[in-house]
C-alpha cells in the first residue's frame, strides 16, 4: 500500500516538475540566435547544403568523435562478452558447427541443434532475395554517407544501412563467414584516419576537426565542403564495421 502510494507520489512529482516544459511549448516562429548563426554562416563558412551535417561534423565535431568512441566501446564490450576470446576454441566450435549442419548429429551442440535444425538455413526465397538485394542496400548505404553534406543522412545512417545488408546475408545463411580481418582493419583504420583528419584541421585550419583545410569547392557538388565528405565517409565505414561486428558476434547458428 505504502509502496503504491510512493509510486503515485513520485509520478505526480515528475509530472509536476515537467509541467512548465509542456505548458511553455509553442511553435517557434523564428530561430534561436544560436540556430540562426549556424544557418546563416554554415553555407558561407563550410559550403554544406545540409546544415545538420555542418553542425554534426564540424561545429560539434568533437561530440561526434565522442559518440563514435562510445559506439566503439559498446561494440568492443559486446564482442568481448559474446565471443569466447580463445581463437582455438572458436575454430573448433565453427568446425563442429559445420559438421553439425551436414549430418545433424553429435558434436557438442548436437543435442540442442537437432530441434532448431529446421530454421538454421534460410529459405530459398530469402537466400536469392538477399543475394540480389545485398549489393543494392550496400550501395545505398555508401550513397547515404558520401552525400551526407548534400542530403539528409550521413555516416551513422549509412553505416547502419550497410550493417543491415550484412544482417540480411546472415539471415539467409547463418554459417556465412565474414572476413574478420577486413572488418577489424576497416574499423581501426577509419577510426585512426578520422582522428588524423581532425589533426590535419588542427594544423592546417582553425582547429581540431576543422574541415576547411581542403578547398570548399562549388556549392552543392559531391566534392565540396572541404573535408566533410571524407570525415563522414570514415564515420560511415567505422559505424558499419562496428555494427556488423556486433551482429556477427550475437548470431548463433547451431
Amino acid at each position: 500500500m505504502i509502496k503504491r502510494l510512493l509510486i503515485i507520489l513520485t509520478l505526480t512529482a515528475i509530472a509536476f516538475g515537467f509541467y512548465p516544459l509542456a505548458w511553455g511549448v509553442e511553435d517557434a516562429r523564428q530561430l534561436s540566435p544560436l540556430a540562426a548563426g549556424y544557418v546563416e554562416n554554415s553555407v558561407e563558412e563550410l559550403g554544406t547544403s545540409n546544415v545538420v551535417t555542418a553542425i554534426v561534423v564540424s561545429y560539434r565535431g568533437l561530440d561526434t568523435l565522442g559518440e563514435v568512441t562510445v559506439l566503439f566501446a559498446a561494440a568492443a564490450g559486446v564482442t568481448l562478452l559474446m565471443t569466447s576470446g580463445n581463437p582455438e576454441r572458436r575454430k573448433k566450435r565453427a568446425a563442429s558447427r559445420g559438421k553439425d549442419g551436414k549430418d545433424g548429429k553429435d558434436g557438442k551442440d548436437g543435442s540442442e541443434g537437432g530441434s532448431d535444425k529446421a530454421r538454421r538455413q534460410g529459405s530459398e526465397l530469402l537466400a536469392a532475395g538477399a543475394a540480389f538485394l545485398f549489393p543494392i542496400i550496400w550501395l545505398f548505404g555508401i550513397y547515404i554517407f558520401i552525400h551526407g553534406h548534400l542530403t539528409p543522412g550521413g555516416g551513422f545512417q549509412g553505416g547502419v544501412v550497410i550493417a543491415s545488408a550484412v544482417l540480411l546475408i546472415i539471415f539467409a545463411d547463418c554459417r556465412q563467414e565474414l572476413g574478420h580481418t577486413v572488418l577489424q582493419l576497416a574499423e581501426a583504420l577509419s577510426g585512426a584516419a578520422y582522428v588524423g583528419v581532425g589533426l590535419l584541421g588542427l594544423w592546417m585550419a582553425a582547429g581540431f576537426l576543422d574541415p576547411r583545410f581542403l578547398a570548399a569547392g562549388e556549392f552543392g557538388e559531391l566534392f565540396s565542403a572541404g573535408a566533410i565528405p571524407i570525415i563522414y565517409s570514415l564515420i560511415g565505414i567505422k559505424v558499419g564495421a562496428e555494427l556488423t561486428g556486433i551482429v556477427d558476434s550475437l548470431r548463433r547458428c547451431s
Binding site: P152, Q157, L243, I246, R252
Partner: protein, 83 residues
C-alpha cells in the same frame, strides 16, 4: 491543421504501443511494440522536419535494435534451458 491532427494521432499510437511494450506478457510482443514506438517516432520526426534524425531513428531504433533484441532474447532463452 491536418499536420497537427496527424501528429496527435501518431503520438497517441506511440504512447499506447509503449504501454503495450511494458505490460505485454509475451516478450516477443514487447520487442515488436518497442520497435513500433521507434517507427512512429521517426515519422513524427519527419513531420517536425528533421529528416536526419528520422533516418537514424528508423534505421537504428526500429530496425537494428529490434533485431538485436531478438538475438539477445534467443540467447537468454537458450542459456536458461541449460541450467
Amino acid at each position: 491543421m491536418i499536420n497537427s491532427i496527424l501528429f496527435v494521432v501518431l503520438a497517441l499510437l506511440a504512447l499506447s504501443s509503449a504501454i503495450t511494450a511494458v505490460l505485454a506478457k509475451n516478450l516477443v510482443t514487447s520487442i515488436l511494440a518497442a520497435g513500433f514506438v521507434s517507427l512512429l517516432a521517426s515519422v513524427i520526426y519527419l513531420l517536425l522536419s528533421a529528416p536526419d534524425v528520422a533516418m537514424t531513428e528508423a534505421a537504428i531504433g526500429s530496425g537494428l535494435s529490434t533485431i538485436i533484441f531478438f538475438y539477445v532474447l534467443n540467447k537468454v532463452r537458450r542459456s536458461g534451458r541449460h541450467d
